[in-house]
Amino acid sequence: MKRIAVENLQSLFAAVSAKKQLYIPADDSAGQAKFTLWSEGTVLTEKLNTVRSAKDLFFPQVENLVNFKVSSKKIEILENRDSSEPFVVFGVRACDCRSFDILDTVFLSDPVDTYYQSRRENGLVITLACNRPAETCFCGVFGIDASDPAGDVTCWMDKAYLYWRANTERGQELTKSLSVLEDCDESSVDAIREASKQILQKLPLNDLDLTDFRENKLLDVFNDSAWGELSESCLGCGTCTFVCPTCQCYDVQDFDNGREVRRFRCWDSCMYSDFTMMAHGTNRPTQKERFRQRFMHKLVYYPNNNNGVFGCVGCGRCLQKCPIHMNIVKVTKKLKEGMV
């Protein structure tokens, strides 16, 4: 284990940044945290977490796929992949770190999505244990220990020091190259972890229990009468899906600038009315079906295909950001009322 004094954090960032692009959560102009490319003067946020999750760095909201040049009857295919350079992302919370596992099962399963893959290979993840979780946090429900997150490197912070533990070979390699870090004892973080655990135990949403979703039949959950009531005030916006670290649906679109056609993909949301729209109509005509799709996917469909692992990591972003405050916790609790 290594450490560095908190007042020297900037020199650590500078050292990492000298090797690879470094992203850290920093406050934006609205005072909310956002993963920001570090440069001299970028300061680590004091906020618990970023509004947009760390998935942005691996699965950006918009990315170029390929270009086409069309001339009369001929088409030329031109490489137009956004370049992906090696980068380090610092300050990823335990929940977001787990979300990478979920995104991996989608994007890295056959056929592999090479855009995501190259970012995953290029990205080194440094997690930061949570000292002050929010009331909306419920990562513990998914077996995530916010006091000891995964990642290539795990960090802990108290008032005096940032502690640093490399978990993977890549993490060790980076550690070796950082002379600003000094050695320290493994037990240095025990107190931080203990304090963090004390708080984690007290979180109001700890009692959320999802086991019923594993045991109930897909169609029974799907046909539950509560969906109508749950979705009645849903605005059909995409906030929940866009701030969610595990939402990965995308759209592929073409942009024609008159000289060439750029094919790009962008995030899409199952909450949008045109998500499944075809020439002859849509199979999810009302917000109820769209709303249900999102939660069924996280609570039933995804676990069915992935050994019971839920498609949620308990980061609490949708709890904080939904304009009408409908969220996976409320949905889960309501549905459970109807379950046997």
């Binding site: 009857k73 992949r81 090479t114 046909n223 073409d254 993909r265």
Partner: protein, 274 residues
Amino acid sequence: MRQDPLIPMLGEVTAIRTDTPDVKTFRVMGVDGEKPFVHIPGQCAMLSMPGVGEALFSITSSPTEPYLDFSIKKCGCVTSWLHAMEVGQQITIRGPYGNGFPVDTELAGRDLLFIAGGIGLAPLHSVINYCRHYRDRYGKIDIVYGSRSKDDLVDFPEIENEWCKEAGINVHLTIDNPQEGWDGHVGFVPNFVKELAFDTNKTVLMCGPPIMIKFTLAGLLELGFSREQVYTTMELRMKCALGKCGRCNIGDKYVCKDGPVFRLDQLDELPDEY
């Protein structure tokens, strides 16, 4: 750089056949003149025109042919563009996608009953010709095909001149309303299937408009068929065709990857959202 599955290959439309007022069949070859890829009957491919859009289409031709054919009905953006295009036009193609019909496993050795309505013949066309090519691997073949009118029967010449004349294949055609020059059956497919009262030892492959499927299925069950005997193929909006973009997700299945061919008893386990 690794080639991503989302990046298509170039193809060229080498022939266009007008089948009906709103259906054309497009022959697509690679720019090298070769067939772009080998498929299983029932599988699909993504065709696209850059700037217009990309859409998934059933492959109409049999894998035994040295080309890929797509029978496409004009109904949206991409299809309208395709209908307006001329031979020699390059397009992009990627695939094949989906599971296809189990032609070499569950269907082998069976008596087959094909039921198609309108453009629903497109995916079955591939299977029918595959079975004709390997005729000895299958039992009796019955084809029920219905359309709004005689003019709307896709690829009528081939049906009339080849399928109808082949031994061991019974073709039953029907159109919705009486029409001059038509001396065949008149009426909707579901009723026609019931009238024909097929043996229940057949395996059914069905594709057509949802309403036809619904009523034909009821008729088949009445005749004593079980849901395990019926295969159908689905169509939903798709963008990636790789099981990732999330659009064609029905229950825990992705139609583009786990489908589009489903046995009815499999469909019964999925939410009624298609």
